[in-house]
Symmetry: C2
Subunit: 357 residues, 2 copies
């Protein structure tokens, strides 16, 4: 088992990575506050892991909320179902919530924990690669609004993140790919040697070789933890974690949530960011090719939906959170392994990227 | 004009109290972040003060959301209307929200500000006595759930609180009374000399004599600010501000939100707390009488709805946030001017209070 720490003073917390951790009662017990536990999961994950996780918390008074599976349910209405359960089961302020599932379950459970009685504790047990390497770490929680993704939410850090790599064995291949998109992101923004490792090991990772998976999750979480420790509430450097996301959110909003997986949209978004970085003269044409090739090797999309025009992209990007006083701020690259956040890019290059990729 | 400070380190903020402050552009301008302002008000307050407050922020790009007036609209559904407006008007992270109205508007605007894009700044402009002396100060924000009051929310401090006492001139007398209930609370929990001042000056206060009103608001806000500075997130002493509230919330939940005004429910709740304190042998029968008399002089209710049984009260109180691991914690008094938070009271005395008051 590997253990990392997200260093945030009194809100610091551990990330555990290993095989079979969802059966390890001694590991999780110290992170439960009070006597009540509310497990939130969805109707895909529940048949696979709910009974084991209920056993994990058998020393406590356990309630369960099962949500419908899908990004399209990540909204205030579904959130209210969690509150219904918490109140019907009379959960007090000393409740510990547990998110068992992917990014949608984690974001909603964390946001419910942030708001229930103005804040209770929660534990993340991510079961998808994407949530294990990204969304379960760092305290960003929230729901979507019909006019924008993740527009309603809170910063609320978990007490612990329990990553059991064996849960990936039940994950559809398409979702493994989507998770790998975020793994590639860490190489692109901060770690060229990890990017090179991925170029050599992507097939083992895609095949869920335990050693490769553990290493990729560990490096990804370490990168995320270090960025979050530097800038918890995204006043500065944390924005680099959004590489590909502003383009990607536009695609997700246009297509309707869940039609493209988040990681798929980020994959295309990273290619767009790379293309624009190249047009700015910051990276080589060959770098764009390396990135595109790597993503294609795990069957990720690298071009945006054909019908999306320049104007449509711009209109959708204008409501993104990365817009400050009217200027779109993008995460671009000065080289592979070095991201920059800027609103200073050539408008005609931007238009070319939007129409080409 | 009086100025107080809520001391919370980098989240410290001023409270301004005076006549005509909602026309004072120079006063408010330093507290606006960015170029966009979203004023949230309701359909009762809008015809009275909206134009003046729009003028107050005329240097900025102003949007407005007008909510229906009433506690029964303080829910997630109405909250979503604020998010709709924010997104339709393309408000960015650098938006300043402004709550113009009473406690419901303040709580909902503050909660919307806490959640919109994971947190934007807001300014409180409370226009009711209750919100001026209580809810606009201290950062408690949120909405109700059908199973419990204020069950969903956040701690989110405003940038400034602007209290214009002239707005009280348009307030219905019943709401003046409701506000006075919270004013009396400060005397009961921490300040016997202020309680005595109220016994001598309650008629002037009820008649909205500007000098008496300013003094009562100043002492109340000073008390609240000092308690909040000691314990922002209610880990300890802040709970004394809930004197009368656990009983009162049960009444409000039973009657349906808004049938009894919040301050009216708190009035009866404080009499219940006083009665139980007397039955415990902590205060004199005469003290209960003094409190009851003072509240009755401003036409506040001092007994609970006749149909509310002991069991009903207990059942409603069991979902209150003051319940920890199954025990109801109550704010009681060891004397007038000294509150204590305890779950150690005689159950038969508790039952007698519930059936008598």
């Amino acid at each position: 088992m590997k253990q990392l720490t997200v260093a945030l003073g009194e809100r610091s917390y551990p990330i555990f990575i290993g095989a079979g951790l969802i059966d390890d009662t001694n590991l999780v017990a110290p992170y439960v506050v009070g006597s009540q536990v509310m497990i939130v999961t969805n109707d895909t994950v529940a048949p696979l892991y709910l009974e084991r996780v209920k056993t994990l918390f058998k020393a406590f008074d356990v309630s369960v909320t099962i949500l419908p599976d899908g990004e399209c349910y990540k909204n205030l209405e579904t959130l209210n179902k969690i509150f219904d359960q918490l109140l019907e089961r009379r959960h007090t302020r000393k409740t510990t919530m547990v998110a068992l599932g992917g990014g949608v379950v984690g974001d909603m459970t964390g946001f419910a924990a942030a708001c229930y009685q103005r804040g209770v504790e929660f534990i993340q047990i991510p079961t998808t690669l994407l949530s294990q390497v990204d969304s379960s770490v760092g305290g960003k929680t929230g729901v979507n609004h019909s006019l924008g993704k993740n527009m309603i939410g809170a910063f609320h850090q978990p007490k612990a993140v329990i990553i059991d790599i064996e849960t990936l064995n039940t994950l559809p291949q398409q979702e493994v790919s989507a998770g790998i998109a975020e793994v590639v992101k860490y190489g692109l923004i901060r770690d060229v040697s990890f990017f090179e490792w991925l170029e050599s090991n992507i097939d083992r990772l895609y095949a869920l070789d335990p050693e490769a998976v553990t290493y990729a999750i560990e490096v990804s979480c370490q990168c995320k933890a270090s960025v979050v420790s530097e800038d918890e509430k995204e006043g500065g450097v944390r924005a680099i974690l959004n590489l590909g996301h502003t383009f990607g959110h536009a695609i997700e909003t246009h297509m309707g949530y869940g039609v493209w997986l988040h990681g798929e949209a980020v994959s295309t978004g990273m290619v767009m960011a790379a293309d624009l970085s190249y047009r700015q003269g910051w990276i080589e044409k060959e770098d764009v090719q390396r990135i595109t090739t790597l993503l294609k090797r795990v069957d990720l999309p690298v071009t945006s939906p054909e019908e999306m025009t320049i104007d449509l992209f711009k209109s959708l990007m204008a409501v993104d959170k990365k817009v400050i006083d009217g200027r779109v701020r993008l995460v671009l690259m000065s080289k592979i392994g070095d991201a920059i956040v800027t609103d200073e890019f050539d408008v005609s290059s931007f238009d070319e990227t939007l129409s080409t990729i």
